[in-house]
């Protein structure tokens, strides 16, 4: 079946390309929050994290580095290979609750991973989760990404804390 063979060859070629692309494009730094409105984009020091953590899969769970060890994941993924796309946004949607995403989830009733966290949640939980667990690295919002002017307005940043008595609107 020539068409099938062509398909296999094409797939092989693609996966080779992907592996190559991965090994050549391992970035030293990544600009995150590129389209941020309330917080500025910032540079994430990938090289430093690599040298500190060494194990890729600590962050890039199951897509690269040591493959899955979580007993729950191993049930299906014991023999899964690293994925072609390693970046978070390859799997985690930036619009996890859009009508389109919700409709798509509803269609895919048999899918196991119906509770896949969105991109923003995945990144914050990964970073803040690890930083708090190790008591190392920033956990406050502005320690990673300073606010923009719009952000200052959004959070009413000009309104300083004034001590306990004046703190909140009267309950009713």
């Amino acid at each position: 079946m020539p068409s099938f063979r062509t398909f296999i060859l094409a797939a092989l070629a693609l996966s080779l390309m992907a592996t190559q692309a991965w090994s050549t494009s391992l970035p030293d730094s990544v600009t995150l929050n590129q389209n941020g409105k309330l917080y500025k984009p910032f540079s994430f020091d990938h090289a430093k994290h690599i040298s500190l953590i060494k194990e890729c899969s600590d962050c890039h769970h199951h897509t690269t580095g040591t493959l899955v060890t979580d007993p729950n994941c191993v049930r299906c993924h014991a023999n899964s290979s690293p994925t072609a796309v390693v970046s978070c946004k390859g799997c985690h949607s930036s619009t996890p609750f859009s009508p389109a995403t919700l409709a798509e989830k509803r269609e895919a009733k048999g899918r196991y991973h119906l509770d896949k966290i969105g991109l923003k949640g995945a990144m914050h939980e990964n970073c803040i989760g690890c930083h708090s667990k190790r008591s190392q690295g920033p956990v406050g919002c502005q320690e990673c990404h300073p606010r923009t002017k719009d952000g200052d307005a959004f959070y009413n940043a000009d309104k300083q804390a004034r001590g306990p008595a004046a703190k909140h609107a009267k309950s009713e």
Binding site: L114, F154, K159, K167
Partner: protein
Amino acid sequence: MKRRNFLKACVIGGATITLGKTNKGWASGSFEGYPEAMGVLVDTTRCIGCRSCEAACNKEQNLPEPETSFTDKSVFEENRRPTSTAYTVVNEYEKKASEGPVYRKIQCNHCNEPACLTSCFVNAYTKTKEGAVIYNPKICVGCRNCMIACPFNVPGYSYESATNPVVKKCILCYDTRLKNGRPPACVEICPQEALTFGHRADLVKLAHERIRENPERYYDHVYGEKEVGGTSWMYLSRVPFDKIGFDTTLSNDPIISNVKDFLGMVPMVLSIWPALFSGIHLLSKKEGHDDHGHHNEPGQEG
């Protein structure tokens, strides 16, 4: 007083001071709520208390400027309630726990069978098919029945106009987002995805799945799945729910089913509603519970 005696007393009281009759329809959705109702699952194990949801709600709902910045963490010194100027607030609990504190976002829970709706004698409230409990401020006469009826102490009152105070509360961003299928502003901004938006029926399954997969992370209960007949906003927690300010004495019956039948027979008058519903609020507690005024217990505010 036994429940039956209380109800009987109300019936007699109501009958003797009858002035008019309400012909309210008790169409607040089926017991499970609307099948297509949306909801939000709040996973308090993910919340970091950043208060971004409060800021987002403030802007989305055009609420007045806060007294202090939304980055002010000193607000956690008190247990706050939603108000007419802040439809949602985040509180801090378990302050001394070695695993760190627990944060809990509070807003209207958008009950399947809303007590606010059934208590409103001018029909200002609507439960939409999308699950939102909304209200028409033009119809509201400011009688505050809904405030008394709500098992979670949610509705706030705005006194901007002294002659016409109106109810104000979270509307699940119905006008600006929900009715177009978009997630609420607070959900969209949450950095931790502590708030998961989706069909309520799906969220119930998903919540139980999270507990099943991570039994060490979660206390085995989904608050709001069954309480008062179920709510569109539901919660997961690391610790038992009474430790983070939830009223765990509420029964699984909707507030209204306690009184539905007899309300149908009794012509109601405005004067007895507040008393009646504060009574019903108390009756909705699980039987046998020693109810010593949960309103006044610190850290136990519904």
